[in-house]
Point group: C2
Chain length 115, copies 2
DNA sequence: GGCTCGTATCGTAAAATTACGATACAATGA
DNA sequence: TCATTGTATCGTAATTTTACGATACGAGCC
């Protein structure tokens, strides 16, 4: 994939997190963690129709994206990182509802900005 | 990619939208649309260091995910679909801050659920 | 020491994504 | 009618992702 160099740091980070969440198995892991608060790998392997090694790899991706974190027990007890999803929610809200802009969003020939 | 069959419809939809946003070029398109409100394809081609055909393909992905929509002028004038990002923000918030649950999230040996 | 159990990592095959040039196609204007 | 312009689609090569089995590795127990 070609690197898009004029991304802001925020956009770059958001793309990374979006990508990690954009896989059904990984999203399932995240919802499972949200439901249970804390899981060991085995819990997640049981919850998914995938091989243990595959689940472990997905966990690694989620960990690298900062979405889940291991406990102090040596990476065998996972939970959601509390801030990332909150930040992502704010990012999405900012995109669709820019607080400052008074423009009413919407398509159509008349709504094209003059600039 | 293997299909995870026990995803809820909401999770499936979220994964689709996350995946579409999880590419730097596409996220750039979305932020550009958020900034300008409305763009024709050429505007986006100019904003990105990619070939016209590539940008067009990314637009198609975003359109199929329901994130952008074409205007009535025959798909040549794009804007953000107003509801999807709002919905996605709500989805993320629900994941990290489940309103009902009184449990305090967090890792550690003591917080493992008894079940 | 030698088991078993749970998990991470390695190597690899299949599938999907990404980007590009070439081309098609509709609208516009000479 | 014929060229031009803007955009979508096609075909394809390179890269990345996904999933699996095999294997390594540490902890706990005999």
């Amino acid at each position: 994939m070609k690197t898009i160099e004029n991304l802001t740091r925020e956009e770059e980070r958001a793309a990374e997190v979006f990508r990690a969440l954009g896989n059904p198995a990984r999203l399932r892991i995240v919802t499972e963690l949200a439901r249970r608060n804390v899981c060991i790998t085995g819990d997640l392997v049981n919850a998914l129709p995938l091989a243990q090694s595959t689940v472990s790899q997905h966990l690694k991706v989620l960990k690298e994206a900062g979405i889940v974190q291991g406990s102090i027990e040596g990476d065998q007890c996972y939970c959601l990182a509390p801030d990332v999803l909150r930040w992502l929610a704010a990012f999405c809200t900012e995109l669709c509802c820019p607080a400052e802009a008074g423009d009413t969003p919407g398509c159509g020939p008349a709504s094209r900005r003059p600039g």
